[in-house]
Amino acid sequence: MQSTGLTSGQRRVVVTGMGIVSPLGLGVERNWSRLVAGENGFGRISSFDASDLPAQVAGEVPAGPTESGGLTLSDWIPVKDQKKMDRFIHLGLVAATEAVEDSGWKPESEEDRCRTGVMIGAGIGGLQTIYEASVTVKEGRARRLSPFFIPSALINLVSGHVSIKYGFKGPNHSVVTACATGVHAIGDAARMIMLGDADVMVAGGAEAAVCPLGIAGFCSAKALSTHFNDTPEKASRPWDRDRDGFVMGEGAGIVVLEEYEHAKARGAKIYAEVIGYGMSGDAHHITAPAAGHEGAFRAMQNAVRSAGLTPADIQYVNAHGTSTMADDLELDAVERLFGDDARNLAMSSTKSATGHLLGAAGAVEAIYSILAIRDNVAPPTLNLDNPSRESVIDRIAHTAQERRIDTILSNSFGFGGTNASVILRGV
């Protein structure tokens, strides 16, 4: 196999382990089979009473027995440790456990442990924990604040706990770029391996913001869908003319990234290679993208350039596509980048099935894209009944499609005008 672009003449980085917790349930294979079957993970919010909020729909991680894809926390984290972590850390740890075990990487020597790092981020972090602690202080009980409040809420503590659990002593880092976190984590961690800071990195994002502050806050920002409270499965509808905001999801996506020769030498299974990564800033507005999503255009362009490819080499784009007005701006940017090659492209938004997992979205979607390469299947965009504008790009409405896919690009954009794109290729 030839190395190209980002990796040419440098250390190459491959994916050797994957883990997902999402509204579609626990586990990579369960997520993928449900996604391809056109199922969704939506319902009315069950974790708190949202009846006084305009948005009452979310994608919550299902509770239930582990063997049927539900979350039974005590199967993963000792009861006495659970209260030391916000839910986003719980979800991150569960997905990281799946990914690390999937990779089969168990460093025995001190040197190997020191060459293995962690880079797991979140967009918001321990929001519910911060809310509850604030109430304690407001009630005049500041002296009763748990000593675990701070480490439970801190975003980098998913990385911290994974490092402690497995004895990984390399870089212990974290990304915070709102909804672009997952892609930045994978891209930055890959570069750490390329630059020689580590041989293996556990990377991704985790989020659990389906809580009163999270839902109310995004409601105030007019970002959430509010017209489908009685039909939750219809609420997330990227590019559809009736879309009216995103649906919040929760979960975590974690990958194990590994230097190619290192993975080969130990006979690891290799899912894909990270061959391109691009970033940009809008310098425009705190929440709204610029016209034509030119920031997204430049992030994708930078990723394609770093991979040493042309857009024609890419068969599938996993769009940021949140089911907001910005969907068509991303479409503008992709059409502009691909030009005449757009007619051969498949692009879908898997947020139509999972909702928007904020800081976890980019990592979960990168994993879905890797599975698209593995199985030559483009996952569907649900609820795309009437596109608000036509395009030559096949947006895989309603049903998954078998297509030849060996190279993918996955987009994530965040508040603050931050954009990231990653390109992965089958090995």
Binding site: V79, K80, R143, R144, S146, P147, F148, P151
Partner: protein, 79 residues
């Protein structure tokens, strides 16, 4: 065993996730029951809450075993 001792034991079992049989009077929170320094801070808070007593920091530092906790609380309650 006194009511206070019973309650202390219950709180320790709950907070440290240890088996009840291990919570003997001489058991040290850190050396025998797997607590770290943050766990002991939380334990003292739980005692304060459960028994409606104030345990000042210098007194809390001296509470290292199950018996230390029981003795301290019994003394406060008797006073």
């Amino acid at each position: 065993m006194s009511e206070i001792a019973d309650k202390v034991k219950k709180i320790v079992v709950e907070h440290l996730g240890v088996d009840e049989s291990k919570v003997t009077p001489d058991a040290s929170f850190i050396d025998d029951l797997g607590a770290d320094s943050l766990d002991t801070v939380e334990l003292v808070m739980a005692f304060e809450e459960a028994f409606s007593v104030e345990i000042p920091e210098d007194a809390a530092e001296k509470i290292t075993t199950v018996k230390d906790a029981i003795d301290y609380i019994e003394k406060q309650k008797a006073a």
